[in-house]
Symmetry: C2
Subunit: 434 residues, 2 copies
């Protein structure tokens, strides 16, 4: 066993922490009450203030440079670092926060100015998002949704060749905790010939992995599949809130627009590519009969180690549950192994036409449903288009989301012999339409 | 006749200038050779350096404040002004550049530091684009394209209710003159069962109006149709380059993606809402039998004065034409009157779900084809999907664009008794695939 995997921290809440042990060290943007936003790293129940550590002279050389990039009011400069620089910062942070760090007493003396209790801090969107792209690579989700329209032929002919994606709205990406206002829009009620206007009646969540792009590429220069992994800085959770009734009426022929652009929520912590290394695995074999990816999407290393094993969870907490002090109820348990394409394949496909990516661009994976109903990542699938209500343990039912409902996404990586790491929460409460 | 309409400028090249007479005064970002980009206003063959004018004390009060916002390296701060502030700057510029300006000699003494010859300047993208949205409101284009797939029923049922739009890629928006590299991608060759990969063989232009968003709106607060006009700062030309073969294979079910995201070109000058006032007109009546817009999209003032009469032109210049010193050939003449929805309706629809717009967001109108083949705004339409080659006057033919082809968009507003104003050019030359 690599000693790194059992290292403990002098920040004792980190040891055994479900999300943020020493082995995770995700980056984010935080502000203690009344102070300005700045870069931090989650460790147990605390946030390590990267800028304060820089000023205290706790870093050297490359790590110092990387820490300066990670200390600002957005992580865009941190995302622009190369993997070597990011790794130097990670190694320095591991050493500083290790229980045997020689600088431990000096850091403890800095108190709250170095380690802020997370519960007392406000968390912000990690970066200024340049462009946001939402993919559709959860094959069970694509199949389930396709079945609602085409029971005998759910997947379109391009699905197994093209990592399907579309451009999303960057201005309405929010961090976990921001309210989600029920959108209004045009819908075509069943059986009617003319549309009507009003609040969406079929508001849904979508369980997705978010991918933060690191270094970008120049216009016209595609990122080869062998190099693509280096361009991913880290991951988060992403809820692609969707108004199904608006979507059904508007989406032909150019795709989803207002049915998605009212809100997208991401978790505040960027779990770095380095922290995720132990949880890499082989891309699951394609079912017999599926085509081989075209050569530009195929790389042996990517096939062998380009997938990720991240457990994903959706929880729902209704107003009644809050009023009765009941905890949120899990409504789905899924995994990133349900992706038909690797993250590297998404990066390469996105740039193969010469499109430029930039540090701080965000990808959504698409909804990551599993094969069975208890793993479906949207209510559209769980309730079969609203026809089979979801039964909640307290006796409530849901076809789609109601005002006051809170949706919480969580993610965790487990591996025998390694410390588990988590993503923290990605949550939002539905507010009534304005 | 309003005296403003016949005013002349002491910048004599402005008088009778096809694009930039005194009555236009469009804003842009320019740099003289070796200098940093900054805000300017086109007047005849010159660019008026707004920052230099500020420093020379040529503005007062509101105009001075507005000029400072228009003097930076992008126009985002200018776009964030309200219409009153923009108008104060326009009035000040009109007075300064009028042939009877009392400051004329002082300005002339400043020479090139105030008025730079446009030919000696580099022009830049006017603003940092936050989000780019492409609409589809050219009804003849939608009908022509629809006919290629559904001859008997070209328009989908939502078309006359929903101003159809989708999110585009912001990172690949370029200013006129930037090269356009032929994209590579997956395509399904006719008659084949499996896709192939390579340079697009069906590269096309799309003639569109570009709309620069001024003041934005808060999340959750829709912009009412009565207020929407105020949120448009100005207009430009936009070429939504499209790889038809990539588009046909990738676009189901989520819309165009890599077939568009390799490049979008805009003209460098932002023709302000104020300069366009004389060219406003009533929205053309909907054909008998078409539904009335839903109430949220309907406003009497918008119906009476919300359309624009702008003549639009596409020109093509091939390598052979350049080699033989032949001018670019017009391949289409169209008009913004081919929009099924007003600009205000686009703004209102985009925000009706609570989506926030920001200063510097860009909309494309969608391809603005007319009813007849000589007014079609894309080769897809002109050549009926590549089946009827376009004959050029020098004996060449085109189905789609070839390497070396230059596409030039132009626009002009005419009205009896008013000085004509133009948009300048939006051009790009196709470069071979990398």
């Amino acid at each position: 066993m690599n000693p790194e995997n059992t290292r403990l921290s002098w920040v004792t809440s980190a040891n055994g922490h479900p999300d943020f042990p020493l082995q995770n060290l995700p980056h984010g943007i935080f502000s203690p009450a009344g102070e300005t936003p700045r870069g931090g790293v989650a460790i147990g129940d605390y946030i390590f203030d990267v800028g304060a550590a820089c000023r205290a002279g706790l870093f050297n050389d490359t790590a110092q440079y990387a820490a300066e990039q990670a200390a600002g009011s957005t992580l865009n400069a941190f995302f622009a670092l190369d993997a070597t620089e990011r790794r130097a910062l990670r190694e320095a942070l591991l050493a500083l926060l290790d229980e045997s760090s020689p600088h431990r007493e000096r850091m403890q003396a800095l108190g709250d100015s170095l380690l802020c209790p997370m519960a007392a801090c406000h968390l912000h969107l990690p970066a200024k998002v340049g462009d946001y792209t939402d993919f559709y690579v959860g094959i069970h989700h694509a199949t389930n949704v396709g079945k609602l329209f085409r029971p005998d032929n759910p997947l379109l002919p391009n699905y197994k060749y093209v990592p399907i994606g579309y451009h999303g709205r960057a201005s309405t990406i929010d961090v976990s905790g921001a309210p989600v206002i029920r959108p209004k829009g045009q819908t075509l009620p069943p059986g009617q010939a003319e549309p009507t206007f009003g609040p969406s009646k079929r508001l849904d969540y979508e369980l997705e992995l978010g991918i933060w792009i690191g270094q970008g590429n120049a216009r016209g220069e595609a990122i080869s599949i062998g190099n693509a992994r280096k361009h991913i800085a880290g991951l988060c959770l992403l809820n692609d809130w969707s108004a199904r009734d608006i979507q059904a009426w508007e989406y032909q022929p150019l795709g989803p627009f207002l049915s998605k652009s009212f809100a997208t929520t991401v978790s505040p912590w960027v779990v770095t590519a380095e922290a995720l290394e132990p949880f890499r695995c082989a891309q699951p074999a394609r079912p017999t009969g599926d085509p081989k990816p075209l050569p530009y999407l195929l790389d042996p290393t990517d096939q062998e180690t380009g997938a990720l094993n991240v457990e994903l969870e959706v929880l729902l907490r209704t107003t009644a549950m809050r009023e009765h002090n009941l905890p949120a109820q899990r409504v789905a348990l899924s995994s990133t192994l349900n992706m038909y394409w690797t993250l590297a394949q998404l990066v390469t496909h996105h740039t193969v036409n010469g499109c430029s990516l930039q540090p701080g661009d965000l990808f959504g994976s698409g909804t990551l449903s599993g094969e069975h109903p208890d793993s479906y990542g949207s209510l559209l699938e769980t309730t079969v288009g609203g026809k089979q209500p979801l039964m909640l343990p307290n006796g409530e039912t849901r076809t789609f989301l109601e005002d006051g409902d809170e949706v919480i996404l969580r993610a965790r990586c487990h591996r025998e012999g390694y410390a588990s790491i988590g993503f923290g929460e990605c949550s939002g409460i539905i507010q009534p339409a304005h």
